[in-house]
Each structure stands twice: as structure tokens, then as C-alpha cells.
Symmetry: C2
Subunit: 432 residues, 2 copies
């Protein structure tokens, strides 16, 4: 049996989740890993605050130095945000401690230098909980798919927006209503900016991209769109055409050591796509590798217990599994967002669109020579039209508005990911 | 750089897949693991047979002894079946070689003693490819969810039957037609018994159950039903009620160190269940753990490349990752199959069932006091009726046949897994 001394930074949802999990699963961990974790100290801002966790009072401190003086083996950071987390982690690594963190913003922005520091000091820095909550995706990439070249991934990495989109689609409620509901249930924060504008997903994408493609990914260069401009009518039209709209994080490498495309934004997925059916607060990552073909991992992307699971697993792994070789090939070359390929165009109109008008639109599109896959209009007094075009050019909306003669109040376009699979015509037919 | 000498047993689909993958991904493996794998010899039955792999002739041998004399570090078994694979693996382990195998039958039947032998000799025996093809599910259980108590899993572990069921449902073709198609595409063997009768899935279930619950699972005691008695009308009726029928492998432990339920058989899954949308030859495993909540892994369950991926990853892992502690708690206590809970009853009839008759059936069921969730009949000249009952007793079919007065030619009942989720009423409505 090896005793491992742990210093815990922060006792919010994540920190207390880890504390409880280490206690409840102590026997399982000891049996399987021969490791006994002892919390040596917990850094908090306020020692007097009422805590729901029992027997914790003697461990609390407000001074980081005091924690390090306890000769901890691993520092577990559960504060979040860049500072003071960054300073604490740097000092812990320099003191020869392993570090486990769930801090996506910090790792997205400073992971490269912190990884280098850990390697220099011969300790491990693990951050499984920073991407996909409880889903062991970074561990899978590091340890279980390491002989594969992963050339592409697509992922749902933000549970808050996935919950909002699921509710908007199934209940027909507005973005604001769905957001308020998510906030009420604790799925969204009081300031939802980072989630709904796609920044949270972009942090996770940057981390996932770095591990997958082994190049440094500057998060500031990741193209990022959020979901504020989506309304339930757009979701309904997409659905009638056989698609669901998801906030998708995508990464692709063009050729070995080639340039990357990395983007976060709403995209249409055909029902047959493995990510199309990911509901509510679940996250999912679809990986494409040269030998394994495809692997999809699905799980809870946030919450006290799934996040604690990832951190406790990391805690075991700094002791059980080997460190990465850290073979980054330098900074990534990022390609501009590809606006080619298949695209969904949603036009909200002042008038209701009849089936005769839909036929007329099809004819106009044919005459101006656009390659159209499908056209659909809202019914029952809701006003809007959607077109899926096989090839896309940013000038199309202006051309179409001029040619179609519709009184349009809102225009938006989204990439369409993959094609409707013919494997499930019954389902496709049932919703069209 | 460490050179690792590999002896390969068998050069069929899997063996040549591994040979090709080690060649094509040599650079990636070397960069990430510092390991260089060299095939020292390949055991085949016939040295003269024409091979599609280049430069392989000098490595071929028909004598296992000759392979061991090459001082190989790892033996990679890709023959399949119990003998002579078992003898070869035992001799390799006794000679101090690590062993990697894809052999589900062998590991299901003799994994306990082979694991013990490997532990005694201080070498590793890995068999990721034996369950779920390319999906790294055993590695995930061993290394990435080891602080979790997994109390339940459900899985689709046989791609052949999943392909057949998918085709029967989407195309409305018979079992025999779908099987012939699967054979033509190379998804089913000339003798499909092991796949369609559920034995292949039972082998994998026994392996997965042993790793998950850390007890020895005698494969002969796993309850096992196949898919031969399913017809497209039954699939259609299940679908109209909001379910899909899948050949499900399920494992559950009742309380810590408690008895297990392990079964393979067709079961109904609501559309909202993560496994309901697994199509074609894909496999999937849904794990429920006490901290992580739920994690689902999806990927290709068979085929040259996915299987080769799992074996090559294992090959790296005998060198990179620690061996299991091997903390089996002895033989499992298996519970008899639970026939309680919600159940689907399908009656094929000589007559067509009108909606008036459906209403009459509902009334009869109400009168005899059965808790009914739903009733649905086939239309368009197809003759059949399905009933979902909330509680079940094996005597019900006889009671119902007497009470309903229908001329029934075929009766079957299946467990219903979970309840229709209310999260997606639109989809549920669209197919009912």
C-alpha cells in the first residue's frame, strides 16, 4: 500500500465532489491500485463558511504555502479560472508535486507551458475533467488509441447549450426560456456567456485538438460561434429536413503534419450521425482513426460526480500510468473556416410560405443554377423557409433575397455535417 | 528505442491486419511509445499458400517451437477457437512471453486460468480485441474507470446480428434474407450459428462481466437467446410502440459483492436509450458507475482494421501500462433470469386485427386486471398484435390466448429495457 498525500485547492461543487468520492470509493481504489489517498489540506477563501461536508474543518487553510508545507504528493486544483490557479499550479509543479486539474480555461490558454514545466520537473499534469466531464476521452487518446493516427473528430463538449437546444427543439420554447430553465436547474450559470457563445466549447476543443494532433493550438485562433441566434423555428425546419442542430466542436487535420481546421459552431447533423441523438447535458466525442475507424465516447459532461470521477481517475493515474512523451510538433497552422460544402440556409419571413411558394422557390433556384438538396417551409402560421444547398458561397444569401422576392426579417446559414444516411429511410420519412 | 520481438500466430484476416497496421503505423508507434515492433516469425498451417501481404515468405513457419526459439517478447494469437490456440498461449506464457489475443471463445472459457498463469509468470495477457472489436472497452475498465464501482452494463456485442436486425427493420425483409445478405457482404460466416444464436455475444459478455464485477463468470451459466425467431412484423410493431429490438448483453450486480444477473437475448429499447440507435455492424457498451454515472463507448465490433487496432494497442500496452492486480473474488453467483418487469408480447395471428379489435383487447386486458402500457396491431394486411405489460408472469400468454379468442400462429415475449423517455415526444409521436 502506498500512501499518497493530496492537497485540494477549492471546495466548491467539484472540490467537495472529489472529497466525497475519495471517501466513498477508498476501498475500491485501494484494492485495484494499492493506493491510499489522504487529503492533507484544503485551500479555501473563507475558513468560517458553513460546509456540507463533515469532518473537514481541521483540514482547511487560506494559505497556499501552508498546503505545500504539508509535503503533498499531488495538488488537485478545483478553483477554476486563470488566476490564482495558474500561479498555484506552477508553484506546485516547481515543488515537485503532480497536479490534477479540471480547469479548461487555464489548460486551453497555458497548457503548453504548464505541460513543459511538468515534464521538466519529472511530474505529471493531468486534466481529464477539463474536457467532456466524466468521459475518459483524454485518457483514451493518451493510452488506448496511441497507435492510431486520429485525423478527425467531432464533439459535443458543452452540456449547457446541448440542454438548451434539446429543450428548444422538443418543447418549441425560445432560447431565452430554455436558458432560464437551464439556470433554474443549475445547468447554466448566472452569467451564461462562456457557455452560450461557444467559448467554453472552444477551450475544450483547443485541449482536445492539442492532444489529438500533437500541435499547440492557440485558443484565440479557434473559430467560435454560439447559439444565441437560434430560434425554435429553425430547429423545427432542420428537423423536417432530417437534421438536428448541435453546437459542434470539430477538428480535422489535412494530411500528416498538415494544417488543421478547428471550429465551434452550430451545425446540422443527419439523424443517422452518432452525435445527433446526444440529448440534454450529455457530451460526446466521435473520433476517426486510421486503424480503428471510428470510436464514439458518450457521458455526462459536467456535474459534481462525473467531474469528480475524472479527477479521481487522474489522481490514480499520476501514480499508475506513464507520462506522455510530449511530442508536440510546434504551433498548429490553422486554416480559415471552410464555407464550402453543403449548407443550410434559414430565412425567417414576414409572410407565411405556401407549398406553391416552395415550388416557386425551387424553380428560381434551378434557374439561377444553384445545386439544391432540399427546400422546406414552416407551416401552421409560422413564417420561414429553409434551403439546403450542396455547394455554398457567402454571396448566396444576397442573391437569393433579390431573386426570391421574400420579405425576410432574419437570415442565417449553418454548415451541414455529412449526408442523410440511407440506412434509416423509415425514420427519415417519418419526420419529413 | 526498445525493440520488441513479436511472434504472430495465424495470418488470416486478423493476423494480416495486424501485420499491415504494424507496418503502416510504425512511425506513430515509435514516436509515441519509443517501441519498435519486429515480427520475428509467423505461424501458418501452409507455407505454400498464396498470401496477399508482401515480403512475408521468409517469416513463415509451420512449427510453433521454431517461433518460440526466436526469443520473441510477445506472442500475438490470431488463430481463434480453443485448440490449438490454448496450448500455444500456455506454452508462450510459460516461456515468459507476453500474449495478446482476440480469441473470445478461449478467454471466455479459460481466461481465469490463463490470467492466473500470466500473473504467476510475471507477464501480461491482454485481449482487448475479444470484446467489441476496436472499442477500447477493456482498457477503459482496467485503466480509466478503476476508481468506479460499475454496477451495471448493457451492450451490443455482436455486429452480425445487429446488422441483420437493422436490415430486417429498415427493409422489412425476413431473417433468412437478411442473413444471406450479411453472408454475402462478409458480415456473417457460412455457419452463422455462433452469431445468430447469441453464443458469440455470450462469450464477450462473460469476459466483460469478469472484468467489470471482478468475479469468475462461467460462460456455460450465462442465459443466452438468439434472434432466429424474430420476424420483420415484430420489429415493426415494436417500432410503432417506440422501441427497437436489439440483441442485448446485460450484466448487473445486486449490491457490492452481491449476486449477478448476466444474460444475452433480444430486448426492447426505447428510442431514447443510448443503444437504440446503434446501427449495422457497430457495437456499443453502456456502463453505469457510482461516480461517473454513465459512459457509453461505440465503435466497429469486427473487421480487419478495428480488430487489428485493438491488438496493436494491446501490443503497446504490454510494454507501456501496468498489469492488472487480478483481484478476482472467486466464482460469481448467478441469479436466474428475471422474467418480472416490463415485457413485450407479440402474437402473430391468422386474421388481420382491426382497430375495433385493438380496443376490445384493451378492454379484455383491463377486465382481467393486467397492467398494460400499450397495445398495437399491424395494419395493411399483415396479421399481428403486440402488447406491452408493466408486470409479467410466464403464465400470461396462455391466459391471454384463452381470453382474447384470437387464432394465434406464433407467440413470443421479450423484456423491455427502461421506459420511453419523455425527452423526445416529437420523435416518439412521429413513428407511432
Amino acid at each position: 500500500m502506498r500512501r499518497i498525500r493530496v492537497g485540494l485547492l477549492g471546495l466548491g461543487t467539484v472540490g467537495s465532489g472529489v472529497f466525497k468520492a475519495l471517501k466513498s470509493n477508498r476501498d475500491v481504489i485501494l484494492k485495484r491500485t494499492d493506493l491510499l489517498f489522504e487529503i492533507s489540506g484544503i485551500l479555501v477563501r473563507d475558513r468560517q463558511k458553513r460546509r456540507e461536508v463533515d469532518g473537514i474543518q481541521p483540514l482547511l487553510t487560506t494559505r497556499f504555502e501552508q498546503l505545500l508545507e504539508q509535503k503533498v504528493d499531488v495538488v488537485l486544483e478545483a478553483i477554476g479560472g486563470v488566476e490564482p490557479a495558474r500561479t498555484y499550479i506552477e508553484r506546485a509543479l516547481k515543488a515537485g508535486c503532480h497536479v490534477v486539474t479540471a480547469n479548461k480555461e487555464l489548460i486551453a490558454k497555458h497548457g503548453v507551458e504548464l505541460d513543459a514545466l511538468a515534464q521538466e520537473k519529472g511530474v505529471q499534469l493531468l486534466y481529464e475533467a477539463s474536457v467532456g466531464g466524466g468521459i475518459p476521452v483524454l485518457g483514451t487518446l493518451r493510452h488506448l488509441l496511441k497507435s492510431n493516427r486520429i485525423h478527425r473528430f467531432s464533439a459535443i463538449l458543452n452540456g449547457t447549450t446541448n440542454y438548451i437546444l434539446t429543450r428548444m427543439e422538443t418543447e418549441g420554447i425560445s432560447f431565452d426560456q430554455a436558458l432560464a430553465e437551464a439556470q433554474q436547474k443549475g445547468y447554466a450559470e448566472a452569467d451564461p456567456t462562456s457557455d452560450v457563445d461557444g467559448l467554453d466549447a472552444a477551450y475544450k476543443l483547443a485541449i482536445l485538438g492539442r492532444l489529438t494532433f500533437e500541435v499547440d493550438v492557440p485558443v484565440s485562433q479557434v473559430s467560435c460561434r454560439g447559439i444565441r441566434d437560434i430560434n425554435p423555428w429553425e430547429l423545427q425546419l432542420a428537423r423536417s429536413l432530417g437534421y438536428r442542430i448541435k453546437l459542434l466542436a470539430q477538428g480535422e487535420q489535412y494530411g500528416e503534419k498538415g494544417p488543421l481546421s478547428l471550429q465551434v459552431g452550430p451545425a446540422l447533423l443527419p439523424f443517422s450521425h452518432p452525435l445527433a441523438r446526444i440529448e440534454g447535458v450529455h457530451n460526446a466525442v466521435h473520433l476517426e482513426g486510421d486503424i480503428v475507424q471510428d470510436v464514439t465516447l458518450v457521458g455526462q459532461g459536467a456535474g459534481e460526480r462525473p467531474t469528480a470521477s475524472a479527477m479521481v481517475e487522474d489522481l490514480c493515474n499520476v501514480c499508475c500510468l506513464p507520462a506522455d512523451h510530449g511530442c508536440s510538433a510546434g504551433e498548429a497552422t490553422l486554416l480559415p473556416v471552410d464555407t464550402g460544402g453543403s449548407r443550410f440556409l434559414f430565412l425567417e419571413t414576414r409572410e407565411s410560405i405556401t407549398q406553391a411558394k416552395v415550388a416557386e422557390v425551387r424553380e428560381v433556384l434551378r434557374q439561377i443554377g444553384l445545386a439544391v438538396t432540399d427546400v422546406s417551409a414552416l407551416r401552421e402560421g409560422k413564417n420561414g423557409l429553409a434551403i439546403i444547398l450542396r455547394r455554398w458561397d457567402p454571396s448566396y444569401p444576397a442573391v437569393l433575397l433579390a431573386e426570391l422576392g421574400l420579405d425576410v426579417t432574419h437570415v442565417v446559414d449553418r454548415p451541414v455535417f455529412g449526408a442523410v444516411s440511407s440506412s434509416d429511410p423509415a425514420l427519415a420519412a417519418s419526420v419529413s
